[in-house]
């Protein structure tokens, strides 16, 4: 038979001699459904049961709006900072040879490994007005701990490895010959970086940004210690969910969580579109 049996019937899976498909897929689906899907759909079901007017009232409440604005705003700024410094760190690690490079490389993963509560109290102690860094900034009139700036600092810490670890492997793959060819053709270093290297890295940078941003929006543990948590000023959305829960205000907690999920989902969608655009544009 040379012609593919196009109408041979819809097949759920390709035939294979390897056993265990039913068992492993069945177990995986059951576990996924019990642990992730049922609880998450419970959240969606509960917020749908609120009704549109109640939902809208919670969503447009001044405190909710401010908390969302702070979470998304701080996460955006922190991700932007990480794009600049994370790309620089990746560049130094990939292109330059220096003693202790392995250790510096491993250090980048510390924010992944360090529990968020530990990061939170450590950063707060550093940036408090009498802390190692805080007392240097205090004479300049810069307050970090217990202000929105503190939230950004915590989210920069949390997001750094996402950018470095996304950009680094792509940077390693760049063929130096392309740069050499450009140099031979008379391009200077600046032109090579902006016209040749950056376009190749752009999709990875966008991905790193989106991962750092998504993580920052939902971050709780490292932020609540340093933020000061003033309503309307430095209160992040996840904290507001916790506060509403402690007040037994389940509808409000549910609604804010649903809005966060929805916004994160929309954001990922936009970023995916931006990514496929940049791939087409530069790819």
């Amino acid at each position: 038979m040379t012609i593919a049996p196009a109408k041979a019937g819809w097949r759920f899976r390709q035939p294979s001699v390897i056993p265990g498909f039913g068992l492993t897929l069945g177990f995986s689906l059951a576990y996924l459904t019990l642990i992730i899907l049922i609880p998450l759909s419970g959240l969606i079901w509960r917020s749908a049961a609120l009704g549109w007017t109640d939902f809208w009232a919670i969503a447009t409440d001044r405190r909710t709006l401010n908390a969302l604005e702070i979470s998304f705003g701080a996460a955006f700024i922190a991700a932007a900072v990480n794009v600049v410094f994370g790309t620089l760190v990746a560049w130094v690690l990939v292109r330059y040879r220096f003693p202790g490079r392995r250790i510096v490389d491993a250090m980048v993963d510390l924010p992944f490994a360090l529990p968020t509560a530990v990061a939170g109290i450590a950063l707060t102690t550093l940036y408090a007005p009498n802390g190692w860094i805080g007392h240097l900034l205090a004479p300049l009139g810069i307050k970090v701990a217990y202000t929105p700036l503190g939230i950004v600092v915590a989210l920069v810490f949390i997001g750094l490895p996402f950018v470095v670890r996304t950009v680094q492997p792509i940077m390693e793959e760049i063929d130096k010959e392309v740069e050499e060819a450009a140099a031979t053709l008379g391009a200077n270093r600046f032109q090579i970086i902006t016209r040749i290297l950056f376009p190749g890295l752009a999709p990875a940078i966008v991905t790193g940004f989106s991962l750092a941003f998504a993580r920052g929006v939902g971050e709780y543990g490292s932020v609540i210690f340093i933020a000061g948590n003033l309503p309307y000023k430095s209160e992040i959305a996840p904290l507001l969910i916790v506060i509403r829960l402690e007040e037994y205000n389940y509808p409000a907690a549910t609604a804010i969580a649903a809005i966060m999920l929805l916004l994160s989902f929309l954001m990922l969608l936009v970023i995916n579109l931006a990514q496929s655009w940049s791939r087409k544009r530069y790819g």
Partner: protein, 294 residues
């Protein structure tokens, strides 16, 4: 190709040409900025944990660690990890087997679903269980009638931990097993091995380092998780406080030495994790999937 000038353009050679790398002052400047950034944002937070923990001497440090509430927090954290990690290992292996060894409809969608917990805020991961098992929750009445306590007890903490660490093992094994293909398994089967033998003697040895890598990351996260656990725990001292939650309580009581002493144990765990992870990457880089980090 004997010409030394041409040789210096070979990719493996460290070329000093101004067009292919930056000039020395620029290189030094870039390195200085990158190091300064890493020192301020990564190294100092780590150092201050140990500095504060030992601020009042070794005696105060060991004393705060021998506190009964601290002891029970350590025990609870170990217990939770001992339940959550094996559960996610079994799931990870099973999901990777189904996804990597077979072609079926909806595979990409399933892979996306497995990553879902990473894009959910930890607080929301805890909240979903409160909505399910809480007093006002969907199953709240039924659980109360049968005297089953899930929320503000160990089962709730385990569930929230399983939720947030759900993808770690699976996402490590799936690309690795996909890369390795089915050839070894097909050979074993054709030589008469049964399914379990094939898995135990062929697949598992092939993926053992990748599996260990996933377990390492899964364990670090499950011992360190704060947000999700905080929502479901109820913060009962000596009963439902894990180590990260105990850090928060001590810190809010202005017991800096106590808080940082417990934090130093968690930071130590992070350091051990990083060292083992780096060793695994160095030694078995090729046998660990290309997906590093996260």
């Amino acid at each position: 190709m004997a010409d030394p000038e041409i040789k210096s353009y070979e990719p493996h050679h460290e070329s000093q040409s101004a067009a292919v790398t930056e000039s020395l002052p620029v290189r030094l400047l870039l390195m200085a900025v990158a190091f300064a950034f890493l020192v301020i944002f990564v190294l100092l937070p780590l150092i201050i944990v140990f500095h504060e923990a030992l601020a009042k001497g070794l005696g105060a440090y060991t004393e705060s660690l021998s506190n009964p509430d601290t002891r029970s927090a350590i025990r609870l954290t170990l217990l939770v990890a001992a339940i959550a990690v094996p559960l996610n290992v079994v799931f990870g292996i099973s999901a990777a087997w189904a996804i990597a060894k077979f072609e079926f409809k909806g595979k990409a969608f399933l892979t996306t679903l497995i990553d879902l917990p990473f894009s959910v805020s930890p607080v929301i991961s805890g909240l979903v269980y409160v909505l399910l098992f809480g007093a006002q929750g969907l199953l709240g009445e039924w659980l109360k009638a049968h005297g089953i306590q899930i929320l503000f007890a160990v089962p709730g903490i385990v569930l929230a931990t399983v939720f947030v660490t759900f993808p770690f093992v699976a996402r490590e094994l799936i690309p690795l097993m996909q890369e390795q293909g089915n050839g070894d398994e097909e050979a074993a089967l054709s030589l008469g091995a049964n399914g379990w033998q094939t898995f135990w003697y062929v697949t598992l040895p092939n993926v053992k380092w990748g599996l260990l890598y996933g377990v390492l990351l899964c364990n670090a996260r499950s011992m360190g998780e704060f947000g999700a656990v905080s929502v479901v725990s109820g913060h009962i001292r000596g009963l439902t406080n894990t180590m990260p939650l105990h850090v928060e309580i001590l810190y809010n009581e202005y017991n800096a030495v106590g808080a940082f002493a417990v934090a130093s144990l968690l930071a130590g765990l992070a350091l051990v994790t990083l060292v083992l992870k780096t060793l695994l990457e160095m030694r078995y880089g090729a046998e660990i999937a290309a997906t590093r980090g996260h």
